[in-house]
Symmetry: C2
Subunit: 386 residues, 2 copies
């Protein structure tokens, strides 16, 4: 019996990531793999890789083989637009952009307005489409190459995807989606069909596809990997990230329905300060005296963990903070101030890029070089691969 | 226990149509209804109505109410492009055209290339799309009004239909499609989703929709009728036809996989003659002498039944043939010659119209007045109703 649950729709309990590798049957990202990647990337690895936020993979070694042979690869990730995005949601996009920058790879980003509408009883299609638009701005703000990136909303791009989707759907039956996703007799027939659609972009090019995503999406890729070769395509490769822990502690994941657990990309500086001061679970001692004497515990301190996972890329600086906090020299309040400052600077820049994204949305979705090619081509005709 | 089976995918045994009305819970088309229709149509009813080929309905009386109130209605029918079309396949289209001519109503014709591909294990999508094109030519040859008719292939028009389809799909779960269509754990997820798509065109206009179709399609409309009002639309009305019996006798229906059971629209005059002479089940006697003495039985004679159901619209002439055959004056060979001549004349005209249809396909599918409106509008925006 596990004491935690991870599915595409739910994360409960404190996730044991080593156990998750065994449960999902994936592989750990080893030092060895990271060193190969570093050589190929010709420079320091991204903090999300260096610090083990991406911890698990499938066939990532084969992506490296392909790179060594000069074959190349493409990237695919996505977002279910269920509401405003929080900082945790950006993690796969930040790493995807890093891969794109280093290897000049094409990036496909699927915004699954259909899936969110079908999955959430109370969400209207109009709301899902509204969030699809808003989230697209946040994703563009990450800074993808406008000529090598195609962002698409399912309910808009379905006309191109459907013929390929039904070819995939014909090979997936109810028993399989019940077993993989836990669907039941009450699951609506739109959601039953949806897994076929999420697989389509893995066939956008006849190269290996790398998916940076939170590990809860892995079930989709298991089905893809069973089918891909019968279609003449590669099994997808994936690298899986841990969840950025909720402010309130390591249980579950950040949730839009519990605002105290997350920092949203739209939170203003004052809200950020209040949330972190009030909710960020601390590894410090109850009083300053005790803290100075016994020291804090950065391993369970969410502010420190956020710095480590994303917000303090300087390894030396992070070590200083860790030592200082552990020794009791740095107080919880000081640690929190440090994080608040980092986050508010990050969000300020994000907001500026997000405003500029309004003018760029047509480029990523319609008029950029890759976007235009994807609207013109026939996905069943592999001679039109970008 | 019934001794026959009628589902969207199978017809077995000799269909008892009166029983079918009870099993499906539809209503018989009464003399009364036909008289009301005749008054509204301002002229003689089509032979398919006069002779009871269309025998069952749902809410057809409400279509007549709407007509009397000057509200109007629209027509929807379709075709699963599994192969070449035979004469039986034309029946719903012939009656649909008659309704269009009499009431200047819009007609929507869905060609379900996706469903046929998903349903038939050995059919490729490319084949289904090939037959979609070929069948469209046969349907255009029936003579619909090019500005009031929109013919669309699912895999082409899906981009417009999908947003509305998922709104419908969200209200249909696996238990329902299992109960209604007999789907099982081995049914593929494309086919599980398909019923939502077949319902979409019933919401193309905020008027009542009349569906002339063979009765095996009724299960789809039962689901539509449960949902329609929650979407602010009308429950569909339908009139159901009997199956034109196979040449070989009253068991089952004509089948593309058994060429001796059917006359195809592409059969040349010699093939028509051979098939009817060789296979058309006869109500005549074993020898001429016995036939002259005892007479034939038109009630079980397929040649006579085909004349009655479709090919001899002249009531007086039909009566003469019936009497003459029953008395023994007309021999089976003479009856068959009469039918062969009728069919060959029909097919010759059909072939000519089918050749001309090649130039018209773009009008019905893209450029005609209704087709253009349907490609321009947003199906979720009811203000754009044609």
């Amino acid at each position: 019996m596990e004491e935690f649950t991870v599915t595409p729709w739910e994360v409960k309990g404190r996730v044991d990531y080593e156990k998750l590798i065994k449960i999902f049957g994936t592989e750990a990202i080893t030092r060895d793999l990271l060193e190969r990647l570093e050589r190929l990337a010709g420079g320091e690895l991204h903090v999300l890789l260096r610090r083990g936020v991406f911890f698990s993979h499938r066939d990532f070694d084969k992506i490296l083989d392909d790179l060594e042979k000069g074959k190349g690869f493409f990237l695919y990730t996505g977002r279910g637009p269920s509401g405003p995005m929080h900082i945790g949601h950006l993690i796969p996009f930040i790493l995807t952009k890093w891969f794109q920058d280093r290897f000049r790879a094409n990036v496909y980003i699927m915004i699954t307005d259909d899936e969110k509408f079908l999955d959430e009883e109370k969400m209207s299609l109009e709301e899902a489409r509204h969030w699809a638009f808003e989230n697209t701005l946040d994703i563009i703000a990450v800074g993808f190459d406008p000529d090598r990136t195609f962002i698409f909303h399912d309910t808009e791009y379905i006309g191109k995807m459907y013929p390929l989707a039904i070819k995939i759907a014909k090979k997936i039956n109810y028993n399989l989606v019940r077993a993989v996703f836990g669907f039941t007799g009450s699951t609506n027939i739109g959601l039953l069909f949806y897994p076929a659609l999420q697989i389509v972009p893995t066939f956008f090019e006849k190269k290996r596809c790398l998916i940076p995503a939170a590990i809860d999406q892995d079930p989709y890729w298991r089905i893809q990997r069973d089918l891909a070769e019968s279609f003449g395509y590669y099994k997808v490769a994936a690298i899986h990230s841990k969840f950025l822990p909720p402010l309130t502690g390591f249980e579950g994941k950040m949730s839009s329905s519990k605002p105290e657990t997350a920092i949203f990309l739209t939170d203003d500086p004052k809200t950020v300060r209040t949330k972190i001061m009030k909710y960020a679970f601390s590894g410090g001692q109850p009083t300053i005296e005790l803290h100075r004497k016994l020291g804090g515990n950065p391993d369970i301190d969410i502010s420190f963990q956020w710095l480590k996972m994303l917000f303090e890329p300087d390894d030396r600086r992070l070590k200083e903070i860790e030592d200082s906090y552990r020794s009791g020299a740095m107080l919880t309040g000081e640690l929190k101030e440090y994080l608040i400052d980092k986050i508010n600077r990050f969000l300020e820049e994000h907001r500026e890029r997000r405003e500029k994204a309004r003018e760029m949305i047509h480029v990523y979705m319609r008029e950029g070089k890759l976007a235009r090619a994807m609207w013109e081509r026939d996905l069943l005709d592999t001679n039109t691969d970008p």
